[in-house]
Subunit: 124 residues, 2 copies
Amino acid sequence: EAMDPDSVSKAFVQHYYQTFDSNRAALVGLYQDGSMLTFEGEKFGGPAAIAGKLGSLPFQQCQHKIDTVDCQPSGPQGGVLVFVSGTITTGPGEHPLKFSQMFHLLPAGGSFYVQNDMFRLNYG
Amino acid sequence: EAMDPDSVSKAFVQHYYQTFDSNRAALVGLYQDGSMLTFEGEKFGGPAAIAGKLGSLPFQQCQHKIDTVDCQPSGPQGGVLVFVSGTITTGPGEHPLKFSQMFHLLPAGGSFYVQNDMFRLNYG
């Protein structure tokens, strides 16, 4: 039975950013071979390259704070599009950086994985 | 023959914002019956409701300036995901407002239409 997009989106956002902030290496499990990440305009394909990029970001710790989440079903495949805005703080004393991110989630094996992921900082 | 996502995205972004800024009512032709718009968290479905929302925005004239465009193919249907950031100015003397927007384009009849559209202002 299909979960509604709002529930999928809410659960995914909570899980994704909590994992990013507490156990960044575990994000690798959210991507499959055909997955794509565009991070500040740079493109990465597949779980290893994507996790490699996220693991190599120039900060040890970080905290995401989510301001808005919008979602819509993406089509007959049962996919969900998720559009997020928020801030990321990369250490004590650092200023929060504003960002926007979009995900395209596709169903597989009773769960969802990230097929498409695009991230941009929103500069003041 | 399929156009590559970068070409589709570039052509779409140019066309969409130019139409928005010069002939807003004509945007109706970019959507089909199953299309969805989420505008600042409000949901609209189908070309009439979507064009109605865009036409009812509280300004007569506007100018979009695009800062970043990222795109990826969305899956086996030949769809394209487009992730845009930029500013919109809604009249002489008005301050530019920062926004992010994502589109999911699907092919139909040799062209592409907007299946999914989500817009958010990025407040300072």
